[in-house]
Amino acid sequence: MTALTIKNLNVWFGAHHDRVDAVRGANFEVQVGESFGLVGESGSGKSTILKAITGLAPTWSGDISVEGTPLSGAKRDRAFYKTVQMVFQDPYASLHPRHTVDQVLSETLQLHGFKDIDTRVVKLLDDVGLGGKFRFRYPHQISGGQRQRVAVARALAGEPDILLLDEPTSALDVSVQAEILNLLTDLRDEHKLTYLMVSHDLPVIGHMCDRLAVMKDGEIVEVMDSEDLRQGTAKHDYSRSLLAASAAA
């Protein structure tokens, strides 16, 4: 069964002569339990695909279906929010500056209709490797890595099947990046999650993902296994140059 199916997806912003086509004719499938990567330079439309899936980019055409259910427009129902969750790129921007960690998590749990909120908050913090002492802190009282852990905990609160990861480590220090990536790998095993991960960092994608799609200027130029990535056997010219650039760096 496929977790996510994207068929002939176009996403654009603006209208008429201001129109920018951010994604053109994207096709890919993500199997249940798989970890799928989207790679490309900034501006290649990777994050826009996530936005279209979540309804944050309302102007799109084509077919998106989640676990066999097709989506339309910008409206998403409760079942969608229960199935798909997202971790944002910048943990400094994705947490409300005036809400404590406890408020963030308990409000999310409340929205998903859970009753045993207190025990669940403690368990979520535990799951993402944050102790109880972080529970009543404000975002400005914790570090970037800890914030991203809170953001991951929030995404997991509704017990989703699919997690969309929008460059979850690019705003963090190198030393913290590895921690968050390991956390995500562990959580995927524990909760049997499907990942759709966006990154411009090839080693990260190679480490995290089973398959990946390479994007350039809004189009997917190649879908390949991460084994190919590690071997350096890309078919498309652009993928090869991306690999070479990454190896040089």
Partner: protein, 308 residues
């Protein structure tokens, strides 16, 4: 003694912690941090001191005032400052000015409190709804705001009072009706920047509706700048109320409203300057206090200053 100090210290440590143990603890610690910032601003503390004094004076007016503010004594009229039994002199009807000032503080606080409750709340509601909803809702609400903004404040207030009838309640209502549009504009501008923030997208992805997002996520961030704006506007509100009183459209005689007192004293300003000057100084002091406090609160509350 040392026992008390160590007790104080433990309280401070409890409030200064960066690892609060409960929701209440986290909130108190946050408030305490804000209080420390405010306390560091001596001008703001000066303003706060004046306002607290005003509050106490209004509360204990019957105990503090040496005379009845309404008792007339025509044989004793227009006594100068420092005359026997009348520290600030008497007005044209022989009423003690100090007592009238003290009772007038109640009216001032009443006006300020009512306007501060009505105008920012109305502005916040209009501004955040317009900013968050966008589209037609935004256009309609903001054009209404523009219409209100286009009139000079006192003229519009005059028109309202003239339509509703003179009196302190109607003056408050008129001032509130003219005071809300700037708040709506601020709230809308704030909402526009907040609306596209990741934390709003994040809570939308949890299935939160517009009502919850506006009240629980946008309001807390708008309120701080509104509070600052309200304290800075207080001076203007007091002056507007005084202006209406001065024109005879606010508080009615013999009510000891400060603006009305100035208006009465105006007739004798050349020979008996204190009758108009003393209430004028009172208005000035309270306005200044609100301004100073507003400046200090901005340092504490404005999230853009990076204090959070």
């Amino acid at each position: 003694m040392s026992n008390i100090t160590s007790h104080d210290q433990s309280w401070r440590a409890w409030l200064m912690t960066d690892a609060p143990t409960s929701r209440r603890h986290a909130r108190l610690a946050n408030l305490y941090q804000g209080w420390l910032t405010l306390r560091g601003n001596s001008m703001a503390m000066f303003g706060l001191g004046i306002l607290l004094a005003l509050l106490l004076i209004a509360l204990f007016a019957p105990l503090l005032s040496p005379h009845d503010p309404f008792t007339q004594s025509l044989s004793n009229r227009l006594q100068p400052l420092g005359s026997e039994g009348h520290l600030l002199g008497t007005d044209s009807l022989g009423r003690d000015i100090l007592s009238r000032l003290i009772y007038g503080s109640r009216i001032t606080l009443y006006i300020v409190a009512l306007v501060a409750l009505i105008a920012p709340v109305a502005g916040l509601l209009v501004g955040t709804v317009a900013g968050y909803a966008g589209g037609w809702t935004d256009t309609i609400l903001m054009r209404i705001t523009d219409i209100f903004l286009a009139f000079p404040r006192l003229v519009l207030a005059l028109a309202f009072v003239a339509a509703l009838g003179a009196g302190i309640e109607n003056a408050v209502l008129a001032i509130s009706l003219t005071a809300w549009p700037p708040y709506a504009r601020i709230a809308r501008a704030e909402t526009l920047t907040i609306r596209s923030a990741d934390y709003i997208s994040a809570i939308r992805l949890q299935g939160a509706g517009a009502l919850r997002i506006i009240t629980k996520h946008i309001w807390p961030l708008c309120i701080s700048s509104l509070i600052v704006r309200v304290t800075l506007d207080m001076a203007g509100i007091i002056l507007a109320a005084a202006g209406l009183g001065f024109l005879g459209l606010g508080a009615q005689p013999p009510s000891p409203e400060w603006g009305a007192m100035i208006s009465e004293g105006r007739r004798f300003i050349l020979d008996h300057w204190w009758v108009a000057t003393v209430p004028g100084l009172a208005i000035f002091t309270v306005s200044l206090a609100f301004n100073l406090l507003g400046d200090g609160l901005r340092d504490v509350l404005d999230p853009k200053d990076g204090s959070q």
